[in-house]
Symmetry: C2
Subunit: 252 residues, 2 copies
């Protein structure tokens, strides 16, 4: 009986010890499970947010709203020389660069060809003298194919010619960059080269002027560091001077 009593006591002690351990462990479970759950759900949401999206990017942020609204009130006229595009164009102080108040900036950071196509109407329906287009890098970075970008730019030209046949259209090549495509993480440069080739052909077919900026800004496999603001995508002051000088004879 004594042995048995000893065993029972030691079992009881062991159970008491384990019970304490289990209680602590369950408390830790209760505390950690919801936090770990939240963490996992957020991670899944994050990776879902990176999943491929429709390739035609539509720019709808607050800056697009500000700029679009301003562009609808500040009107273009038949003397206007309009620069349409993305952040490269938006940051280009065109009236100042060409010392010409007829030069009007219609660039919006993050814009892609779809957005330009959507907003070309209220530029060209005022029959501007000239338009300078540079768009496509945001589409390519977002994974769009050079062919789809070039076809959307063809639509921009088609719309312009239909509404305002006397507007001179200048199609600028896309600048080189060392950036990668957002999702695929592969360099976008070969897509840029391919797009620019298509744009050159497109300009020839549609009787627009093609302006090769790519080779002026290229060094090695990307944007020449002389003209790089520091992110290997956007221009610095010297870059803007080179851009101005490359366009001067077409603007004036």
């Amino acid at each position: 009986m004594e042995t048995s009593n000893v065993s029972i006591t030691s079992y009881k002690n062991y159970i008491c010890f384990m019970r304490k351990g289990l209680i602590i462990s369950i408390v830790v479970n209760i505390l950690c499970l919801p936090l770990a759950g939240i963490y996992l759900v957020r991670k899944i949401q994050f990776y879902n947010s990176l999943a491929p999206k429709p390739i035609s990017i539509k720019n709808e942020n607050i800056f697009w709203k500000i700029r679009s609204s301003e562009f609808r009130t500040f009107e273009v006229d038949s003397n206007s020389i309009v620069f349409i595009g993305d952040s490269h164009t938006q940051f280009f102080e065109v009236a100042e660069a060409f010392h010409n108040a007829h030069c009007k900036n219609r660039g919006i950071a993050l814009d892609g060809t779809k957005s330009v196509l959507d907003r070309i109407d209220f530029i060209v329906d005022k029959h501007p003298k000239k338009i300078f287009i540079q768009v496509g890098i945001n589409d390519l970075l977002n994974g769009a194919s050079p062919n789809s970008v070039s076809e959307e730019i063809r639509e921009v030209i088609k719309k312009t010619k239909a509404v305002s046949p006397n507007t001179a259209i200048y199609l600028q090549s896309v600048f080189p960059t060392n950036w990668n495509k957002y999702q695929a993480k592969t360099p976008v440069l070969s897509d840029i080269k391919s797009l620019n080739l298509k744009l050159k052909t497109l300009a020839f077919e549609t009787k627009c002027e093609y302006i090769d900026l790519y080779n002026a800004f290229l060094k090695g496999s990307g944007l020449n560091s002389l003209y790089d603001c520091g992110d290997s995508l956007h221009l610095n002051g010297l870059g803007y001077l080179l851009w101005r000088d490359s366009l001067k004879r077409y603007v004036n």
Copy 2:
């Protein structure tokens, strides 16, 4: 003995059951603890990132780099009419609005008074004809006191007058907004009112022209929705037209 054996067997079963429970619970802990830990550390980092920072904001993002670099190459001259400030100014197509190629945009989104003070040198050392200043809303949103903002703007004026005494200085009031201070989440409007009062006095003391835009854009306790691009801080096209009309007689 039988009772005792039964007890021992049931204790053994109980222990076996508890052991399984404990193992499962510990496994769950091992899985969840690191995730919960990461979640908590990130939360703490997030709340730390919201903690009060030095009140003079210094704008150092990529857009600041692009714009600053461009501004250093595109030079101001003695005929220039320079608009210096934050996003409000940056998105204001001034050359177009006033149809005057001497109008130069020196606005940078997110800029505060400290940044304007840092970059006023390479504007005023070319002795521009006029400068229009509008800055301070980003400082106030960031928690700076109206007094500290107004004193920094006093330094901007002091620097300008010391380097270029013949430059006419136009001090514009800060626009109304319904936004709250980033950290305190309290409305910033009373700070704007207080800053504008100080700017009016400052303009009087320093013999600058004070331009009251606040009352032109106010409705109720914020930005008049007629001029609001949709975020109750930035202007829409009609807002830019009103701003242009409010400045016309000073620009020309």
